[in-house]
Amino acid sequence: MPADERDVLERVRAGDIDAVQALFEEHRTRIYRVCLLYTDSPDDAKDVLQETFMRAYRSVGRFRGESSFTTWLTRIAINICLNLRRDRRALEPLDPERLDDQDMIGHQMPHTPLGNPEQALRTRELRERILALVGKLPPRERMAFVLKHFEEFKIREISVMMKISEGTVKSFLHRAVVTLREGLAGERESGDSAPSLARFPGRRGPGRRIS
């Protein structure tokens, strides 16, 4: 663990709100991004981000540095996200319209190479389509894909964060990639009943009951 991070954690343990802020500033973007790509809801992502730091603060006394703080914090966020979905699984489907360009401008989004309006429109349509497809992935498959493809964590790290074996992570990823590929190719327009071509022979998932 870096010495400066260790110092910040010591201050957090001592109840220093400025240290909490420092941790928040350091990790908020990545945690929020995971949550937003997983939930496709800025409101949910904000709630999860805040709850993540609340829980981290409450339990930081038990963090002993066996993992990186990033891994530990991400694990908390993942648990909250998965529980969120468990609580809300019957609620509304994802809304790909939320990340429209108008909203992004209003929130000072980073510069994006959208080029001309036609290109921007195509990119927006593609983004909406991808978000819709990602949203249809089973929760833990979706989380594994977000962590791998967008956050670029190693498969070993994802297995630790999600408390599943590396083999299960690979299984999730492969199924996610093929599902997305098929969706993008337009072969699964409904996306809700056709079995994936990528189901691993003899595998039925991790044997847990979350998703």
Binding site: T29, D103, I130, F150, E166, R181
Partner: protein, 273 residues
């Protein structure tokens, strides 16, 4: 759009994991060579990789990662609410970290996780609670009935870890099964889980005794922590908030055990083709 549906069912399922690793460039050089040798002679797998790569490329074209900071709250957005609900100062961190014990217990975790990975269970209760009492007693005999010869004064932390692991292996293996089950349960109304916890609690005195004989405060700390968690899992009157808080503690405990030996992941014991 430059995507396609791939090659259907023709690609080699036995290489599925390797193809994912290859796609994300996580193979060892040797593994990479093996995959490349295979796809060099297997058109279906070659096309499977290519079509998946094209799909991921298309996803990248949407710049979702950069877009996904939309709505990112600043500290000022959450500070007031955070400060208003900030709990009292957390308990001081225990200075006795548990790397030695964690290594020992991680072995136990791997056994439990392998159990999960192998799909050999449907319910923790059928494994622990429903077993005949005589069988349970036999399993736990080393931790509860056998006095341990004193360790020499020259015993290292590693020696103590090994001694403890040997004597409490079954206890901790089954404890980890309960922890994993609880961490992933939708609710705690599972009678089997509670019964399993009660069974383990009857054996915890033996684990405490072994820990005491080893004279390792770190191990004693963890035994106490595990016993406390099992006690609460065994309870059937937890509120939703208490269950949520307990799940966090269980997650934390599992993480500390699991993260201590990341190189010994269950998946590495898998048979790969």
């Amino acid at each position: 759009m430059s995507t396609d549906a791939g090659t259907g069912n023709n690609w080699c399922r036995e290489h599925a994991e390797d193809l994912v690793m290859y796609l994300y460039d996580e193979l060892t050089p040797h593994g990479r060579e093996a995959v490349e040798a295979h796809v060099g002679s297997c058109a279906a797998c070659r096309e499977e990789i290519a079509s998946n790569r094209r799909a991921l490329g298309t996803i990248d074209e949407a710049h979702l990662k950069r877009m996904a900071t939309f709505g990112l709250p600043a500290w000022s957005d959450v500070e007031d609410e955070f400060a208003a609900t900030l709990p009292p100062m957390p308990l001081p961190v225990r200075r006795h970290a548990l790397p030695v014990f964690a290594k020992a217990a991680s072995i136990v975790l791997l056994a439990g996780a392998a159990f999960v990975a192998g799909r050999q269970w449907d319910s923790i209760g059928s494994i622990v609670s429903n077993a005949p009492e005589t069988q349970i007693a036999a399993r736990t005999a080393p931790a509860t009935e056998t006095e341990m010869a004193p360790l020499p004064s020259s015993a290292t932390a590693g020696d103590r870890m090994r001694a403890f692991s040997d004597r409490t292996h079954n206890y901790f293996q089954r404890s980890m099964l309960v922890l994993l089950e609880f961490a992933n349960a939708d609710h705690i109304g599972d009678m089997g889980m509670r019964a399993a916890s009660r069974t383990l609690l009857r054996e915890s005195e033996g684990a405490r005794r072994v820990a005491g004989q080893i004279h390792d405060e770190r191990i004693q700390d963890l035994v106490a922590e595990l016993e406390d968690i099992l006690t609460r899992i065994a309870s059937n009157n937890l509120t939703a908030d208490e269950r949520s808080a307990l799940r966090e503690e269980v997650d934390d405990l599992i993480a500390r055990l699991e993260l201590s030996a990341p190189s010994h992941r269950v998946a590495q014991g898998r048979t790969r083709t």
